[in-house]
Symmetry: C2
């Protein structure tokens, strides 16, 4: 298989974790005889510095020529006081909208060997294996904004079509997993939520093999912590998804190892770690590359349909953890932390030797 | 002191926990020689059944004549399929708006004897003592709603004045506590959040003794679980406050014991437990009345300025837990659960005998 991938290292630890993930991608390419062609472009703070634009036209053009995008992270204190149009995050919001990446998938799965790092009791966190499906190109993020000196407003707006496509996506994922879907809204208060709930009710007739529940966002915010093992696929709007997916990311103690995908209808997608740019440790070579490496696995699976290759990366990462190798963020008292590169070497060795 | 209190038992376990809290209120009245005069009125499902209106005029009239309101809980499966204007929760939304109860205070404090029930590790939850201050009468809850067959929208709107008064309230609370305020917004996306953040920045000049931080809602959703001990006072808008306060309520394992206050500028207020109407255990006499009893303590403190009396209730509740008495929701393996009334008797005995 031949695929073009645009690589957007971004800011902070972005370049380091992306470099590690690219090495893993190349190892997979070699082993399974795929030709992954990489092009590099700028986004976020790095793009502001170079082009005075968090998402330059050059970057958009390169992404348009590719089959998928791999992103590190954006943002940092250097640009924190920039005006709104020159903020690194704007690059992220714009690339999502430009490429219509409406389906944000964020899986949260417990690695047994990392549970000590969880703030939750082991018995609460240990069987967690859920996927948050967040609508990413609509809602209050992109509705009309107004501001004068006395007042400010943001419009939360959803069309039936926007809801239908994300709900379809979530139903299909639930089918491939444990067949359970929890739709999250605030239907006792919001009109958008009432439309959302209605669409889910209509759609469920087409997916009679999936068990559906509706739940209010405040109630899910509690249950994600008291009983996270309850969930399989969780689907929700852009704003609720932002909050709940970050909340869910801490359940298993493995925030540093969580990947994400942001996908369009034709499976073109952007893949990035859930964690941020961590400017405080940038350049030290100690960042955990696992989340970005697992994002590459999601790319192989969702954009390229390469399931076996994706599973091989996941297996390798999991084995390296089980063998007791960790970067500084996860290391237990007394044992030695591996650097980003050393840890990546372990994953690559695992892939190479697993024939 | 002479005070008039409107009691709104509501639905499910509401009447039971309110009856228990009223007994404690009377015990306090007797001991400290206050005359608390009670009037009862309907709200929620009970009011729909009796008046076809979740907040009847009779109830509003009685509340207008009082110094404070004590509420049980509203809602239940019986009314779940009612049309929007005949839903129990509408009674709650309307009473908040009618009486301009803009400041919702939700304290979360660890009772050491309840930490076994927390989903969090003991060391994470044990020193938690935070207060969520949620704006309760503005934002997306009350902004214009639109709906047609193809589209739905909700307007999130805040005026400077609405933000100023809740922020003032939070600063003043922080001053009386540990002097730390975390303001939560989504200023990297929402215009309302940018106004919110600006108001906090302006206000902080008047409260130089308070340490202020701004934090994004997604980041707080994580940190409330990974490091809840970090927080003192957290102030945020109506929607974020709904989600974060429910999330925070599970930290200490004591959801059943969390009180809340919803207050107006002149200290008139509505007091209610954080938990819901729990229809599945209604009428069994086993509900935990602690949250409602502690809501009475908040009433004494915030509406009546009776600090000593409030502290006495808190001390009594805490002692009863330390002595190992629990209702069914908190009881540990092997020990006997007390009924609502038995547990309340313990609290009252503690108040009576503590001279
Ligand atoms: C950086 C920010 C605009 C973004 C969002 O809110 O979507 C981030 O929090 C995320 O979840 O990817
Ligand atoms: C019942 C509902 C409308 C209400 C709210 O969202 O405010 C409840 O969740 C609360 O927090 O008091």
């Amino acid at each position: 298989m031949e695929k073009k991938i645009t690589v957007l290292p971004g800011d902070g630890i972005g370049p380091e974790v992306v470099a590690a993930a690219v090495r893993v991608l190349q190892a997979i390419g070699k082993r399974y005889k795929h030709d992954f062609q990489l092009g590099y472009a700028a986004i976020g703070g790095a793009a502001i510095d170079q082009y005075n634009n968090p998402l330059p036209d050059e970057t958009i053009a390169m992404c348009e020529q590719s089959d998928a995008i791999l992103l590190g992270a954006v943002g940092g204190p250097k640009w924190d006081n920039n005006p709104a149009e020159l903020r690194p995050e704007l690059g992220l919001l714009k690339i999502r909208k430009t490429f219509d990446l409406f389906a944000n998938l964020r899986p949260v799965k417990a690695f047994p060997s990392l549970l000590d790092s969880s703030p939750l009791k082991r018995e609460v966190a240990e069987n967690v294996d859920l996927m948050i499906v967040r609508e990413l190109t609509g809602g209050i993020y992109f509705g009309e904004k107004k501001r004068n000196d006395e007042e400010a407003s943001d419009l939360n707006i959803y069309s039936r079509k926007e809801i239908e496509r994300i709900v379809d996506n979530a139903f299909e994922l639930a089918r491939l997993r444990r067949g359970k879907l929890c739709s999250v809204d605030k239907a006792n208060v919001l009109e958008t939520s009432r439309l959302w709930r209605q669409v889910v009710e209509e759609k469920k007739e087409q997916y009679t093999d999936v068990i559906v529940e509706h739940n209010l966002v405040d109630s899910v915010a509690m249950k994600l912590i008291t009983n996270p093992g309850h969930y399989d696929v969780v689907v929700t709007d852009n704003m609720f998804g932002d909050i709940l997916s970050d909340e869910a990311s801490v359940i298993t103690g493995s925030l540093g190892v969580l990947p994400s995908a942001s996908i369009r209808s034709d499976n073109f997608g952007l893949y990035e770690p859930v964690h941020g740019s961590a400017p405080e440790i940038a350049g030290l070579g100690i960042a955990n590359p696992a989340a970005t490496i697992l994002s590459v696995a999601m790319m192989l699976q969702y954009s390229f349909g390469l399931k076996e290759e994706a599973a091989e990366i996941e297996r390798a990462v999991s084995t390296v953890f089980e063998d007791g190798y960790y970067t500084a963020d996860l290391v237990k008292d007394g044992s030695r932390a591996l650097s980003t590169d050393e840890w990546t070497d372990k994953v690559i060795a695992e892939i190479d030797t697993s024939f």
